[in-house]
Amino acid sequence: MSGPHPLSEPERIAVSAAGVVTPIGQDLDTFWSGLLTGAEGISPIERFPVADLRVGQGGEIKKLTRAVDWRRVPDCRATRLLVSAADDLCVQAGARSLDAEPERLAVVVGTALGGVEEGERALRGSPRRLGRALYDAPGHGLARWLGARGPVVTVSTACASGATALGIGAEMLRRGEADAVVAGGYDILCRFVMRGFDGLRSLTRDRVRPFDRRRSGLLLGEGAALLLLRREREAGPRRLGTLLGYGSASDAAHIAAPDSQGRGIERAIRAALAEARMDAADIDFVSAHGTATPLNDPIEAAALRRVLGARGAAVPVNSIKGAFGHAMGAAAAIEAIVCLLAGRHGQIPATLGLEERDGACDIDCVQGMPRAVRPRISLSTSLGFGGCNAALVIESA
C-alpha cells in the first residue's frame, strides 16, 4: 500500500533537543510533569471577545513567561509562541547558537493558521500588519530570532502540519541542504478560529473526552513545539531520540471530515512504517490524534486496529488533547515530543478526560493514571481539514 521501500536505507535523523510552549508549561520539564499529573490547561478565554460564541473556553496561554527580549520580536502572537518554544529549545540544547553555521541552519514550521490574527488586526485598521498576515511570516520571524540563514519553509497541512514539517526537515538533512534543522509547529487561539469551529458546532461545552463514549467535541488550544534535528552521525551522544519515518496521504473524501473508513491515516501510517523499515509489530506506543469529536476517534481507532493487527488491543494509546485542547498546527510536534519523553522517562501520560471507554474505540487507551511503560518505538498520528493525514515513527534514546 505504501509502495516499495527505497533502494538504500534512509539516513537516520536524530532529535538532539526540543522546546515547547503550551498552556500547561512553557518548558519541557514543566510540560511533561503537567501531563503526568493531569494539569488542567483549559480555561475561559480572556484574550479576545467570546461572549457571542457557544463555547468560550480553550487552552489559552495566559502570559508568555520566558525571559526573552521581546523588543527583538515582532508584536505577533504566532511569532512569539515560536520564539518562546525556540528559547526553551536553545536552553535544552545547551547552546544559544545551536552549534551550526547560520547558512546551514534551517527552519521548517507547520501551521494551520499562520499569521491570520495579524490579518484580523490589519483589517480592523492596522494595515502595516498585513505583511505579517501571510502564513509564512512567523516562520521567517523565528529564523531571524535564531539567526538562521538557511532555508526557511512553512507547511500547512492543517492539523497535521507539525508532522509534515518534521518529515520535510528530516528530508532536508538527508539531502545535505542543512546541517541542523529547527522543525515543528505552532498555532494560536484567536477569534478567527474560535468562530470557525464554534460555527461548525465542533466545540464541546463539556470537557474534552478522547475515546470516551460521552465525548461531544473538541476544544481548541494553542502552543508551539520545536525539535532540533541533525543527521545521526553528526548529532553527538546527547539526544532525545531518532525520527525514523514519516508518511503522508490524502483522504480525497471531504473538505473537513475525515474519510469514514480512515483509509488516509492508514496509508500515512503504513508509509511512515515503510520509511522507518519497521513493522506494526515494532510499535510500543501510539500517541493518537484523538480529538474527542464523535467522528474522529472511532475512525482513528479502527485504522490503528487494522495497522496493528493482532496486537491492536495491547499497544498503549493516548491522546493529550484533554489536557489543553487541540493545538492545531502545533499538535503533531507536541505529540512527537510526548513520544520521545515517554521513552526517556518510562511513563505514558494518561488520556485526560477519558472515563468511560467507547466500545467503538477498541484500543488500549491509557486511562486514569500514567502507565509505567518505556516505549522504544512510538507512532504519532495526525489528521486535518482538507483530508490531510500524516504519521511519524519515533525511537526514544
Binding site: 509502495g3 509564512d136 497541512t157 460555527g199 496521504a249 520509511e275 490531510c388
Partner: protein, 270 residues
C-alpha cells in the same frame, strides 16, 4: 537527486490559457491594470456549490494538465499519485471574507490553505502522499524537489505539483504590499505532472544567488505559480538540453536545474 521527467503542464492565468497566452512584457501588456484576474471556471455547479474560485482554478489547472497529456482522470487517480501544493496567498480572499463575517460558518473549512488541494484530490481521487507548502516561487521549486525525492524513493509513481494564486478579492490589500512586487499581479493556477526521469535534478537556494527575473518581467507577479509558468514557457521552445528555473521570495532565491531536458516527448504547449 534523480531528475523527474515532465509528462504534462496545465496553465491558466490572467493572460489566458496555456503558455501561448503569456505576453512578452507583462507591464506593457497589463496597460496599467494592477491585477489580471482569472474568471471563475465553469465547472459542475452542484458538485462545487460551496467551492471558492481558487479551488475551481486548481481543479481546472489539473484538467488542463490532463488535456496536455492527452489522457483522462483515470490516469492519475489513486494512491500512487502524490499531490504537492504551493501558494503564497491563495487563502487570502477566504480569510478576509471570514474575518469580515461574509458567508456562513460552513465556509470556514475553505479558509484553510488545504482547501484548494483538497478539492483537487476529491475531484480526481488522489489518495497518495500529500504535502502543502506556503511561500512564493521557492516554495514551488521545493515542492518539485520534494516530488523528485518521493519518486526516487518509490513512494509514488507520479507526482502532481500544483500552484494557485488569486489576488482580485484582495486587490486593495495587495496594493499596500505593492513595493514587494514587480509588475502587475497576475492570477494563475498551474499543475505539473512529474514521473521518474533521467539525469539529475539540482535544487539550491540562497540569499546570495542572483535572480535574473526575466520570467517575472515577462509574465508578471505570479508568486508560487511563476516556476510552473517558466516550465510551461520552456516547454514551448525546442532543442534545449540542460535547463534551469529560478525564482525568489522574501530575499531568498531558489534554483532548479535539470541536467538534461525533462520534457519526455515533444516540446509542448501547455
Amino acid at each position: 537527486m534523480r531528475a523527474p521527467a515532465i509528462r504534462a503542464i496545465g496553465l491558466l492565468s490572467g493572460w489566458g490559457k496555456g503558455a501561448a497566452a503569456l505576453p512578452l512584457d507583462a507591464s506593457r501588456a497589463a496597460g496599467g491594470r494592477p491585477v489580471l484576474a482569472v474568471e471563475r471556471p465553469s465547472l459542475d455547479p452542484d458538485r462545487f456549490r460551496r467551492s471558492r474560485r481558487e479551488c475551481l482554478m486548481g481543479v481546472a489547472a489539473v484538467g488542463a494538465m490532463l488535456e496536455d497529456a492527452g489522457t483522462g482522470p483515470e490516469a492519475i487517480a489513486g494512491e500512487r499519485t502524490a499531490l504537492l501544493f504551493a501558494t503564497a496567498a491563495a487563502y487570502a480572499p477566504s480569510n478576509r471574507e471570514f474575518i469580515e463575517a461574509r458567508g456562513g460558518s460552513m465556509y470556514f473549512p475553505y479558509t484553510a490553505v488545504a482547501a484548494v488541494p483538497a478539492e483537487v484530490a476529491i475531484e480526481f481521487g488522489l489518495t497518495g502522499p500529500y504535502e502543502i507548502l506556503v511561500g512564493g516561487a521557492p516554495a514551488t521549486m521545493r515542492a518539485i524537489a520534494r516530488a523528485a525525492a518521493l519518486l526516487e524513493m518509490g513512494a509514488c509513481d507520479r507526482a502532481l505539483v500544483l500552484a494557485v494564486e488569486v489576488f482580485d478579492e484582495c486587490a486593495d490589500l495587495f496594493e499596500s504590499l505593492r513595493p514587494r512586487f514587480d509588475g502587475p499581479l497576475v492570477e494563475a493556477a498551474a499543475c505539473l505532472w512529474l514521473e521518474p526521469g533521467e539525469g539529475t535534478l539540482t535544487f539550491e537556494r540562497g540569499r546570495g544567488l542572483r535572480n535574473g527575473g526575466s520570467v517575472r518581467r515577462r509574465v508578471g507577479e505570479m508568486l508560487a505559480c511563476e516556476p510552473l509558468a517558466a516550465l510551461a514557457l520552456a516547454g514551448e521552445s525546442a532543442g534545449h538540453e540542460a535547463m534551469q528555473v529560478q525564482g525568489s521570495w522574501r530575499g531568498e532565491t531558489a534554483r532548479l536545474e535539470w541536467s538534461s531536458t525533462p520534457y519526455r516527448t515533444r516540446p509542448r504547449a501547455a
